[in-house]
């Protein structure tokens, strides 16, 4: 596809999105073998076990929370939200890359997306699952949250309050989760058919067969399939942008200095993409090593993701500068104090760490040698994830702990249970992720096939 224009002009083609020499067969067997085999790399087993331990930690923490109430956390009256909402926003942000890659890049006809979109989407689903947990548990009484947050006729004759950003959240996040799941499953159908036809054991074949719904690759089906898939992509794109916009409303609708600002929607969305791509890198780099997918997830992919990370990182950093400028330009004493307090107050360490992680570290990506060094990218992506977590910490905690009346200023100190719940969800996420790569194709086989030269039809305009 981009080989055609390449020959026309004299410009050097970028590295290929798939290493040469592959056939339909080789692609199919390489990817499906990860699942359709008895043996797993040791790395997979160890990681899954560790992740599973943390998952149990989460279960313990949450049960204890339900038993005693959120008093076990460090939240208090100036700081009503802390780790709970920080984690929520952090996970939602991570959950953005998947849909973005599969939807927006699809619309932009970025064919390099094909070999990473599948597990990026999976990542989205699991991140959203982690995120959804927090709005439910942060009340300490999730049974009521489920009981009252959804609109349905009831004996009290009373309904949710649709002016509240939290209700928008409920709709945005659940819609996002559902649509992502649909999108992901639709994409899986043809590959499930492949598994159905390749699996050895009869039961395995029956299971994949049932999930494949009897897909048989008919051209008429393909045609509708492509149509629907494109429409889904078209709808997911505004959706993915809306979700973090709505999440940012949780703050910008509030009147707290540091929350009540108009730049939040764009700056949050950029931050989400930023965090999302960082997490994709964090996952892609070890996975491609673990399963020798260097052929499919090539340096080109890593570099492109690095570039997107750099761009979004710059947008986020611009957001920080804008906040400072607003504070100065607004001539509003509360805003001014808020920024000064962030930079010099008791939580200054978090602000400056944030600037370091999100502002400085990504600048290294200007350098091609670092941008194309998987190890550095891995480290950098971890730092960015930490930075994005800190960003939410700064926005939520340092804004709340000193708002309007000095008499009610206070400090927030996390407890053991704050940390255990957070790390628990990371275990939850990783467990799901690793189980996913074990049972489903982590790379979209049928789309990779279309990348092979063999799939090009003479006379047909390249698409």
């Amino acid at each position: 596809m981009e080989s055609t224009p390449a020959r026309a002009s004299g410009y050097k083609p970028p590295p290929p999105v798939i290493e040469p020499g592959h056939t339909f067969e080789s692609v199919t067997s390489k990817i499906s073998s990860v699942v359709l085999t008895k043996y797993q790399p040791v790395g997979w087993i160890i990681t899954t076990l560790i992740a599973f331990m943390f998952l149990n930690l989460m279960i313990v923490s949450v049960s204890y929370l339900f038993l005693k109430g959120i008093g076990i956390w460090g939240n208090n009256v100036p700081v009503g939200w802390a780790f709970d909402i920080i984690n929520f926003v952090w996970w939602i942000g991570i959950g953005h890359a998947g849909t973005l890659i599969s939807a927006i890049l699809l619309l932009l006809k970025q064919d390099w997306r094909t070999s990473i979109n599948r597990f990026a989407e999976a990542m989205t689903l699991f991140a959203v699952a982690c995120a959804l947990m927090f709005p439910l548990i942060h009340t300490g009484r999730p049974w009521l949250a489920a009981y009252w947050l959804l609109p349905y006729p009831n004996g009290m004759g009373i309904w949710p309050q649709f002016r509240s950003p939290l209700i928008w959240d409920v709709f945005a996040v659940s819609t996002y989760g559902t649509v992502s799941a649909l999108f992901w499953y639709t994409g899986l159908i043809p590959d499930l058919a492949t598994f159905r036809d390749r699996a050895k054991h009869r039961v395995t074949r029956m299971i994949y067969g049932a999930l494949a719904l009897g897909w048989r690759g008919s051209a008429r089906h393909w045609q509708r399939y492509e149509n629907a898939y494109l429409l889904l992509a078209g709808m997911s794109t505004p959706l993915v942008l809306s979700v973090h916009t709505v999440v940012s409303f949780d703050f910008s609708i509030g009147i707290i200095p540091g929350w009540h600002t108009t730049i939040f929607p764009p700056y949050f969305v950029a931050g989400a993409i930023y965090a999302g791509f960082a997490m994709v890198l964090t996952l892609a780099i070890p996975l491609r090593r673990m399963f020798n997918f260097e052929d499919f997830i090539t340096m080109r992919h890593l570099e492109n993701m690095a570039k997107i990370t750099l761009v979004t990182g710059l947008i986020v950093f611009y957001g920080y500068l804008t906040e400072v400028f607003f504070a100065y330009y607004s001539a509003n004493q509360y805003e001014k104090y808020m920024i000064i307090n962030r930079m010099t107050g008791p939580y200054a360490w978090s602000y400056w760490m944030l600037i370091f992680c999100n502002g400085l570290v990504p600048q290294t990506l200007w350098i091609k040698r670092l941008r194309t060094n998987p190890f550095w990218l891995f480290i950098m992506s971890l730092i960015v994830s930490i930075g994005m977590w800190l960003e939410r910490f700064v926005i939520i905690v340092t804004s709340l702990h000193r708002d309007f009346l000095p008499s009610s200023w206070g400090m927030y100190y996390p407890t053991f249970w704050d940390f255990s719940t957070f790390f628990g969800t990371i275990g939850f996420f990783t467990t799901l992720m690793f189980l996913f790569v074990r049972v489903l194709p982590m790379i979209s086989i049928f789309e990779v096939r279309t990348l092979l030269p063999q799939s090009k039809i003479e006379g047909a305009e390249g698409h």
Binding site: E25, R163, G214, G217, W222, F446, R449
Partner: protein, 182 residues
């Protein structure tokens, strides 16, 4: 799985190719030959293949549009009805119909219903789920989901005649031609 009766009814004939280009070429010729009840099977979407068969139906888009409209009206309607009619309450001195605040929910519901419409209509129009299909009777059809390309002409096609159709198919230079028992 128990066997079918000795002389099975015929679903149609199926030619197997190992190259996408061949499939497209074959499809074109078959269509030109006047066959209509035909279909091609491939491990990945090949636009020329359905263009060759002159398949152009876009009802999915229509259903998505409907879903979107339903979602939008439903979403705003819900917010509006709840806030102004079901239990009107003075919330922070805001008007009962604070329509700007209802936009997010409206939008989300629009997308949600539309997406469901897309997937469900796609599956329904494709007649899925359909775990059983005659074409699966062809042993080599296993590779239709991997690296082989198939062209089938159904027995119900008016021009269909077991012998002549089989001849015609062979003339397309397939790896082999199989009968597809119904």
């Amino acid at each position: 799985m128990h066997r079918e009766p000795a002389v099975p009814k015929l679903y149609g004939l199926m030619a197997e190719f190992d190259d996408a280009n061949a499939l497209v070429a074959a499809a074109k010729r078959t269509y030109a030959e006047g066959y209509r009840k035909m279909d091609t099977y491939s491990p990945f979407p090949i636009e020329p293949a359905w263009e060759a068969m002159h398949v152009h139906d876009r009802p999915v888009s229509f259903f998505v549009l409907c879903g979107g409209i339903v979602g939008m009206i439903g979403g705003f309607g819900l917010c509006w009805w709840v806030s102004t009619t079901a239990y009107p309450l003075n919330v922070g001195g805001r008007p009962l119909n604070s329509w700007p605040a209802f936009i997010p929910v409206t939008f989300e519901l629009t997308v949600l219903i539309a997406s469901f419409a897309a997937v469900i209509s796609m599956l329904a129009l494709n007649g899925l789920p359909m775990p059983y299909h005659p074409v699966f009777n062809v042993p080599s059809f296993l590779r239709a989901s991997q690296d082989r390309f198939f062209l089938a002409i159904e027995a119900t096609d008016p021009k269909f005649d077991p012998a002549r159709t089989s001849e015609f198919l062979k003339s397309l230079g397939p790896k082999e031609v199989n009968e597809v028992p119904a």
